[in-house]
Symmetry: C2
Subunit: 409 residues, 2 copies
């Protein structure tokens, strides 16, 4: 017997594939600054953890919840959107097992096997995994570091829209670029969706993380797109609760929500106790986010200042989320990322970064880029920037490694 | 834009589709005995709930866990299988978001779009949902009430095995029939798997629920099938923790586990706090199950005795799980199940059952059957049997309803 093609060909996580080298580096006694994953270090809010701790009642049965989520959570999420000027009812919200499941459901809702989804690249690498499982083809439209990773003009989309194109998927504020779509870009996507009858799938999980007054606009604000918009959301980054696996899928299209419910029924329900925690988190005062936003902004500034001290680095200061794609004067960032773990240290420390290639669908792109996340304290980011840049100087002057890596590819 | 075919055609849950009629019945003031769902009423064990309550630490970050699950849970599950005479390592276990995700991963691991999986029918209805999403065709082999839902001879399988057949999926102890596969049946499946190079996917989530000394044998006990066996497991029924969404996929095939890890990485990790509870539950003394097994056995006997007072009912006493498929002298059990909620009551009470047709892939089967679950106390089951049978007498003597239902079909 043979394992399926989809299982053998699904992409390995570019964020996690360096883990074995990390283990070896730790065994050699190195301290590692993790710029490679978006795991916030901000404590999970007390109301979440308190609600979980209070769940226990003697004789309680942890029974199946509703397939579309606890009613109080669906209402709390709707209320939360209301505070952002997006009126929603609980019926527009279906709770999922993390934003991951919402993204997977969204792909399955709009596309059959062999259909296509357009995604601006670089993009969140796990969309590839969901597309592989769903048998959906990802068709990329490329954005560039030099343009701050903003979208190309409508013609670039028009050229690749086919009979099999079912949706455009965007993430704003963006992982991995930190770019926030402008109202002009939103308008262009709206026109494309209306003209070609496409769904717009919007991943808005970084909504709160906007800096220096930058404004995030949700596709849910566009009333004439109500039937075409599907939003993916999650508590993971918002409430530093990545391990909860609580997210949601939002749409005002009734037929979409009815079909989503059938997918949800097949897997029975999302995790119950984690939903109880999420209800408490969603009911918090939005002022909760103010100091956190300030902290991330300071981190962004520290990492940006640290990295732009090198003239060979191409980087625009991003407006949101907590990632940056950084273009480096290296030929093979996969090789460089491995070298940082296996051959480099400064005073007993090194850095771990995510190679850029995993964030692109176009095979030749991203090899001179890395993604860094700023989920560490400011002092650590200052230090990590220095270790990264000094390492890069050594790597480039050694020459051989970079060349070898390039030759291998 | 159009919703995908897989989303519009995926089967609605036959267990949940009667919910609107149930709501109306409640509004009319009726008490409803729920024979329709396998939601145990046994309390979730204290160690589970205690561990969850103790999770809270000040400043804690509920961070991403490992994609294959918490190492202590994987080890606890391996140890638990060891106590049943199945030696496993933590590396043979990948924690999933419920048995549902394990089943979905298993289908995706063995089959590509358009491939086939053989499943004895009647079967757990959600396999249909997972197959729809995965684009895999379910090919049924029929088992019959008159034969206690045991498997037909190997020839019945040989006739339907094709070039596209990738696996046989069995559930033992079985939902919805309660039947436990005999060692002869296991041997036959083993031969078929070896001869045709097929995977054997075994759903063993009801393992503990065996009565009057009936013995459950796991496919993991067959050493020469190590490369071909994938087991689906879950804490839902075992520890009355359906809402936890913690399950696992088990295989000794290294390539299968490596591919499963890539699927798991795409969705990041299973819910963390629920896993912490599950570790504590798996570490309990197996003696925990003794009184529970006794209780379920008493319930099975009560429901069996109650239903077999009617000579028109075909039913063999099942050996395991907590379900029975019951053949009734009605032409359309969908209509009968609706009628019980909308037109029948005895002293202010009625019963809710799951119509049999949803458990079959063959369209003409199951229309004279219902599935009942015995997850209520003995006295309630005695009463529910009486209400069901008196209702059936009335339904049959009224005649029209049954005939109308049959004609509509």
């Amino acid at each position: 017997m043979q394992i399926s093609k989809r299982a053998t060909t699904i992409q390995e996580s570019p964020i996690r594939k360096l883990a074995p080298l990390m283990v070896l580096a730790r065994q050699r006694g190195l301290a590692i600054h993790h710029l490679n994953i978006g795991q916030p270090d901000i404590p999970t809010p007390s109301p979440y953890l308190d609600a979980v701790a209070e769940y226990r009642r003697p004789g309680a049965v942890l029974s199946y919840g509703p397939s579309d989520g606890l009613p109080e959570l669906r209402q709390a999420i709707a209320d939360y959107f209301g505070r952002y000027g997006v009126p929603l009812g609980a019926g527009d919200v279906l709770v999922t097992t993390g934003g991951s499941e919402a993204a997977f459901f969204a792909l399955n809702l709009v596309a059959d096997h062999g259909d296509e989804i357009i995604i601006p690249e670089p993009f969140y690498t796990n969309y590839n995994g969901f597309a592989s499982m769903a048998g959906v083809r990802v068709v990329p439209v490329t954005t560039r570091a030099e343009e701050g990773f903003h979208l190309p003009p409508a013609e670039a989309f028009e050229r690749i829209i086919s009979r099999r194109t079912k949706a455009i998927l965007v993430c704003s504020p963006n992982n991995p670029t930190g770019t926030i779509l402008t109202t002009t870009e939103l308008g262009m996507l709206r026109e494309l969706a209306l003209r070609h009858g496409l769904f717009l799938i919007a991943d808005e999980v970084y909504k709160e993380f906007t800096y220096e007054g930058a404004v995030h606009h949700s596709f849910l604000e566009m009333e004439d797109l109500a039937e075409q918009v599907i939003v993916i959301d999650s508590v993971s980054k918002r409430f530093s609760a990545c391990g909860a696996r609580v997210g949601c899928l939002i749409s005002r299209n009734r037929a979409v929500m009815e079909c989503a419910l059938k997918f949800a029924q097949a897997r029975l329900c999302p995790p119950t106790i984690e939903q109880v925690g999420a209800v408490a988190a969603y009911r918090m005062d939005p002022a909760y986010f103010d100091p956190i936003r300030g902290e991330y902004q300071a981190r962004r500034d520290a990492l940006y200042s640290g990295l732009t001290t090198h003239s060979g680095v191409v980087l625009r200061k991003p407006d949101g989320a907590f990632y940056m794609i950084v273009k480096l004067p290296v030929a093979d960032s996969d090789d460089f990322a491995r070298w940082l773990l296996s051959d480099w240290s400064l005073e007993g420390e090194t850095v771990m970064v995510a190679p850029g290639s995993g964030f692109y669908a176009t095979p030749e792109l991203g090899h001179d880029e890395i993604r860094v996340a700023y989920v560490l304290e400011v002092e650590k980011l200052v230090r990590a920037s220095r270790i990264l840049l000094e390492g890069m100087e050594r790597y480039l002057s050694a020459g051989a490694a970079g060349q070898a890596g390039a030759a291998k590819r």
